[in-house]
Each structure stands twice: as structure tokens, then as C-alpha cells.
């Protein structure tokens, strides 16, 4: 098993490095917590990446649409008023770097893992669900008036070739 504090430490280190190096922004980590699969509806941007190896799971980041525009603007030295293709691509790359560095850090304990191509979802009133495990470690961050959550769920693979574990569904929430 892996200690939750190691996951939190790895998420914090990866997020701080990406924000400092690529965005020129300082992030402040809030109190980490554990959460079950999200059932409450989300508004904004969620970006997800699958992790697969002897351990499998998902890493994600989520934030509001205006903060996604702000982060993308810093990354690309541009200005965005709305979430468009460029913003989605920028958020995907930020996720790739944060979860990629998180993965490198935990590989020392959990063995080699592969990283999927990021999937970014933007909308209102939707929820995400990870099939197979529902214990997420969540680290909230504050940065220049915006909030960002970095989440990770990991569990030992049932079999080395198991592929569905950690697969993420995005489902509309009925109102």
C-alpha cells in the first residue's frame, strides 16, 4: 500500500513545480482530504489522465472556467475570455505535466506506470466517476484569487493487463 501522505506530498511538489516553472505563479496548498467518487454536479473544467501499471488509477485537475482561462493565458502569454480549443489544450498540458511528475515521483514506490493522453471536459452540471475505485486524495490549491483541485485515486491492479480500472466516465446530471 502507499501512504496517503506520500500521495499528497507528491501532488503538492508536482503542482508547485509546474506553476512556478511554466506559469510563473505561486500556489498555496490547502488542507488535503479524502473523497469518494464525485456525485455533486460540477461547473467548469475537469481534466483527467489514466495511470496504468502494477497500480492503476486516475489523476485529475479541476477549476472554474475563468480560472482555466487565466491559467491558459499565463502558459501561452495570451488572453482568453472564454474556454475554447486553445484553453482546453493548455489545461490538458498542465494536467499532463502535473500528473506526469506525480507519476514519476510515486513510481519509486509503486513501480513503472504508463500515462494516458489527457481528456478535458468543459461544461455545466456534470459529474465524473472512476470505475473500480472511489477513494480519491484531493489537494485544493489557491492561486492569485483562483482555486484548483488536484485529485488522484490509485489501487493495485487486479491483473497486470486490467484496463477498465480507473477508466473515467463523464455523465450528465439530471435536474
Amino acid at each position: 500500500m502507499i501512504d496517503q501522505s506520500i500521495i499528497v506530498k507528491s501532488i503538492c511538489a508536482a503542482t508547485e513545480e509546474v506553476f512556478t516553472t511554466m506559469l510563473g505563479m505561486e500556489v498555496k496548498a490547502g488542507a488535503p482530504y479524502q473523497a469518494k467518487n464525485r456525485t455533486d454536479p460540477i461547473d467548469g473544467v475537469v481534466s483527467l489522465i489514466g495511470l496504468a501499471g502494477a497500480w492503476v488509477g486516475t489523476g485529475s485537475i479541476s477549476c472554474s472556467a475563468p480560472f482555466a482561462c487565466q491559467l491558459s493565458g499565463r502558459l501561452l502569454m495570451s488572453e482568453f475570455q472564454n474556454v475554447d480549443e486553445e484553453v482546453l489544450d493548455a489545461i490538458a498540458e498542465i494536467t499532463n505535466m502535473i500528473i506526469g511528475n506525480f507519476k514519476t515521483s510515486i513510481e519509486e514506490r509503486l513501480g513503472p506506470m504508463g500515462l494516458s493522453i489527457p481528456t478535458v471536459v468543459f461544461g455545466r452540471n456534470f459529474s465524473t466517476r472512476s470505475i473500480g475505485t472511489d477513494d480519491w486524495v484531493v489537494v485544493p490549491f489557491e492561486c492569485e484569487g483562483g482555486c484548483l483541485e488536484v485529485r488522484a485515486c490509485l489501487a493495485p491492479a487486479r491483473t497486470p493487463q486490467h484496463v477498465r480500472h480507473g477508466f473515467v466516465q463523464a455523465t450528465p446530471v439530471s435536474t
Binding site: 513545480e17 509546474v18 516553472t21 511554466m22 491558459s72 502558459l75 501561452l76 502569454m77 480549443e85 486553445e86 489544450d89 493548455a90 490538458a92 498540458e93 499532463n96 505535466m97 506526469g100 511528475n101 507519476k103 514519476t104 513510481e107 513503472p112 500515462l115 493522453i117
Partner: protein
């Protein structure tokens, strides 16, 4: 001599950032080509000649290490330096890239200076 560069990354954001970094670097820059994966890069290299390739590793269709293998196996391209720029920071991936003939390895997130340092040694 102007340096023609091929940037290979499935992220348009990273391709844009690398273009900006290259323009700031003290390298006599020529044309800049872009490809979204290894397959597209190989297709482009059939008709365009470049002096430098900057490539991600994790990409759909054909990843950066496969691309590196193809480039080094092609006598027309083998001498073109390939620098890997990737989130894959594990020692095994670095070793694999070096063994395949990568001229450099930069881990994302990167600073402009880290990219420029790799270029200084080449030109």
C-alpha cells in the same frame, strides 16, 4: 547556416511555447515545422529537411521514442539531432532515449533556459 526545426508534440500549447523559446534562443533560426505525433512527423520528413527535431514522448499513433528509432535508422535523417522534451522523467525512459540516440532530454515543466542550454551545444 539557418537551423530548420521540427517540433513534434500532440499539445498545440507546447508547440506554441517551444516556438517562442526557439525565437528567443541564440540560434540562427530558419523554418519551423510542426507535427502532432510521430507518424505525422515522419510523413513531414519525407518532403522537408530539418537540422533539429524537438519531440515529446507520449503521443498518440506513434510515440517519440518510436519516432527517434525511425529517424536514427534512416541514413538521410540519422545525423539530425533529436531532443526529447517530455513529462516522462523516469531514469528508464531517459536511458532508452539515450540508447536510441537522443541528443538531449528535457523534462517538462521546463524553463526557456533549459531548452536554450541544449541548443548551445549543438550549434
Amino acid at each position: 547556416m539557418a537551423v530548420d526545426v521540427l517540433i513534434v508534440d500532440d499539445s498545440a500549447a507546447i508547440r506554441k511555447i517551444l516556438q517562442r523559446v526557439l525565437k528567443q534562443a541564440e540560434v540562427p533560426l530558419g523554418k519551423i515545422f510542426e507535427a502532432g505525433d510521430g507518424m505525422e512527423a515522419l510523413e513531414m520528413l519525407k518532403s522537408e529537411s530539418v537540422n533539429l527535431i524537438l519531440s515529446d514522448i507520449n503521443m498518440p499513433n506513434m510515440d517519440g521514442l518510436q519516432l527517434l528509432g525511425h529517424v536514427k535508422a534512416d541514413s538521410r535523417l540519422a545525423r539530425v539531432p533529436v531532443i526529447m522534451i517530455t513529462t516522462e522523467g523516469g531514469q528508464a525512459k531517459v536511458m532508452e532515449a539515450v540508447q536510441l540516440g537522443a541528443a538531449g532530454y528535457v523534462r517538462k515543466p521546463f524553463t526557456a533556459d533549459q531548452i536554450k542550454e541544449k541548443l548551445v551545444g549543438l550549434y
